[in-house]
């Protein structure tokens, strides 16, 4: 099955008919994407504009992107802590105009408390999705079936000609097949999807990716990843919702802690995996409940989610061995950071360290040591870069933004990249109105197709554990 790209809606500032808009399936779509996002010289990776803030700092001529939110509450939650402050900082580009929540009262009070002056509280998902005042729907829900809610939204939004973007939170509570259906439906409806694999927007991750793409560590020949997810240990707060500890739900050590981390690793190295083996371990089937002060209350609760993941495999590019251990649960490690990614190459090394084991929300430090390349093996360096004789010299870098708020910052940068695409702020020639996936491009943002490939990898993690097999996963990176 190819990727249908008919019936797509017009993008604000882009040429909608650039010769690639035919139904030729994903491979062409990808190649085209590379051309359009990479080959423009001023905006190629050597110019590093992807690392700069958006050029749109005032309200664009065409008006801001109107955001309808599913799952924003003024009381608590992920959306309040991350999406809301990110959108606030991009108020010229985005405006929250609609809310849908399980109760309309929750939406009304959130509009009042957050002073969302132009927002409407919708009583039903049908009225919400069909409102012409919504350009982008953001879904940030916990413990709800993603397939059902997204299919409802897609159904009811058919008559909303303005809807162009669907932004979904990772991790997903839906199956591979369901996600394939969602991908096909959004493409058919001309809706550009976004998945919050926001680690790809971390400045540290982009710098690591850049160093590697420009040949600063030579050929990668070995990678070690060790993470420590703070949940899933011997104790848990009494007030933590039970669904977080139930394997039947989509949020656990494998899908989130490992999922974000391995997505970022693939993104940095520009490679998927060829073979993998995994052991999913639950050594703590019961947890002690503790109160707000961390004192045991003398009760236990079952835990069916894993507290450890062992994962190893080789990358498709270069057959690079990757060793990965994700430990759940306190106590934290005393002599290592809670996140350590070591990437070794023939000419240098990169180390990424984070205080928390969650690469997508923790501030990092990047250490690089290696040999400045003569010529980038992948991309030509910028014309502006001096070609004097400092190539071949040993060079070092410690990259750290001391006050970087990664929790909000990475989500902020993800919204920024949506605005850059929507308003074509980087003036990329022949920018399409829709693209299938980001894959490993510097520009753009991850889509539900990127999420689909990650879902398949994670499915194979469980399958490897269940079968006790090393699996060839080189064929999972195809649509469908």
């Amino acid at each position: 099955m190819g990727l249908p790209t008919n019936n797509i809606k017009s993008n604000n500032n882009s040429n909608n008919n650039n010769g690639s808009n035919n139904n030729t399936g994903i491979s062409k779509n990808r190649i085209w994407k590379r051309r359009s996002l990479i080959t423009n010289k001023r905006n190629s990776i050597s110019g590093m504009t992807y690392n700069l803030r958006s050029k749109v700092s005032t309200i664009p001529n065409t008006g801001s992107i109107k955001v309808g939110f599913v799952g924003l509450s003024f009381k608590k939650g992920w959306a309040l802590k991350t999406h809301y402050p990110a959108i606030l900082q991009l108020s010229s580009q985005f405006e929250i105009t609609a809310l849908y929540n399980p109760t309309i009262d929750s939406s009304i009070s959130t509009i009042r408390e957050l002073k969302l002056r132009n927002a409407t509280a919708f009583p039903t998902i049908e009225s919400f999705a069909s409102s012409s005042g919504v350009d982008m729907i953001v879904i940030s829900i916990e413990n709800m079936n993603h397939y059902e809610i997204i299919m409802s939204l897609l159904k009811y939004s058919q008559n909303n000609a303005n809807l162009k973007y669907l932004f979904v939170e990772w991790g997903l509570k839906c199956s591979e097949k369901e996600l394939e259906t969602i991908c096909a439906e959004t493409t058919k409806n001309g809706i550009q999807t976004i998945i919050s694999l926001q680690g790809r927007k971390s400045p540290y991750i982009l710098r690591a990716k850049e160093l590697i793409a420009q040949g600063y560590i030579g050929e990668i020949n070995s990678i070690e990843v060790a993470g420590n997810g703070g949940w899933y240990g011997y104790e848990r707060p009494q007030k933590s919702p039970a669904y977080m500890f139930d394997i039947k739900n989509g949020t656990n050590l494998v899908t989130t802690t490992f999922g974000h981390t391995i997505d970022v690793l693939q993104y940095i190295t520009s490679s998927y995996f060829s073979t993998i083996n995994a052991m999913v371990i639950n050594n703590i089937p019961e947890q002690e409940l503790v109160d707000d002060f961390g004192n045991k209350i003398g009760q236990k609760a079952p835990k069916t989610v894993p507290d450890h993941l062992l994962f190893q495999g080789t990358l498709l590019n270069g057959n690079v061995p990757v060793s990965c251990s994700i430990k759940g649960g306190k106590p934290i490690k005393k002599f290592t950071k809670n996140l350590v990614i070591d990437i070794h190459g023939t000419k240098g090394d990169i180390k990424l360290e984070g205080d928390a084991g969650f690469v997508e929300i923790t501030n990092l430090v990047l250490y690089y040591g290696g040999i400045k390349p003569n010529n980038s093996p992948i991309y030509k360096t910028s014309d502006r870069e001096p070609t004097t004789g400092d190539s071949g010299k040993e060079t070092m870098e410690v990259y750290h933004l001391r006050n970087y708020n990664a929790l909000v910052g990475n989500i902020f940068r993800l919204y920024q990249s949506i605005a850059d695409f929507h308003f074509n702020t980087k003036q990329i020639e022949n920018l399409p109105s829709q693209f299938a996936m980001q894959e490993f491009e510097f520009e753009g943002f991850p889509t539900l197709m990127d999420a689909l490939f990650l879902v398949r990898l994670i499915d194979n993690v469980y399958k490897s554990n269940d079968l006790g097999s090393t699996l060839d996963v080189s064929k999972i990176y195809q649509y469908p």
Copy 2:
């Protein structure tokens, strides 16, 4: 098949008939060993005498152990660098009395150059092995079939009533079946075997084992190992012998770098593995040859040994997840030590670091942080130890012997433990004349049976790689 313990020769200072000396197979033999080596109060692990130097500092009444050496040359080699200086430092306990080498001239010149006044050069393996002037045979040979030479030695030594010890270098060039035969033959002939898994004698390894055994890190719940073996990279010295890079021989990244490391890990944790998965990777099938100055000479040579091993699994005790990545080849890692062993527990952590990736020969640093246990969960603490209220307190330790020469030191301590056993310097009651294996005891030394279990684990590493399977290895720790 049980472990025959009939026909054993008398130990110098020990009671040869302590009620356990019947043919009851290895399990009884192990239990007995525990009793004899552990329960004696003055010498129990809480007294930590295993960490002290031998009490025998003058020539014992019964004379030193007469050592016959296969593979000692004054020109070069492992035996010259390690065994020889170790024996020199234990001249009251050991004396080299016989040499056998491929040519008798080599033995004669070695006796002359090393001033081995009481040593004889033997022209044939038959005359060497049958000489009554040999109590212990040490085999330190490269690129020779261990099975053939050991079986010859055992055959020709039948009439040498004095021969009590056979000391063999790890790694072994022989199959599992051949090693089983050797184990059976040595037991039948009453010969105590020793294998040079000398990492077990490293003071850092023993301290880590002690901290864990006494409950200082609580229950182990996660382990990460990353090592970097300096060989097997993109270049190799022109003068390096080709057999080192030929998978058909017994010495490579898996057998030596990984073998020593995983043996030490099992020893520290007192646990074998239950499930394992491995990927054995050879990404560098050809190496550039370099001269003595490291300059490329424009020639390449084939390499069939691996340059990377990915290994993960769970320990039999506690289902502890273990992640292990052994990288071969320069360049070395810039931001980690070449050996890092991280052991995490419910009450603390231990980190072992080494400058070189070879745990058995590199000096280490041990870092410990955790909570002082109330009572050791495994062993009762010494009566002399104060039982005041400092249990439950957070405690830290950095253990490092700045001038420790691990290359010689660990082999020296291995010889020392042989002398301690032979002369019963620790005055252990009912010390047997022979024991099957050290397993995870503090006292004693590793034997060919310990080596057999390690050979089986390594065989399963290759098997896991070849089959693409996670393997249950819990049944391999049985004899035969």
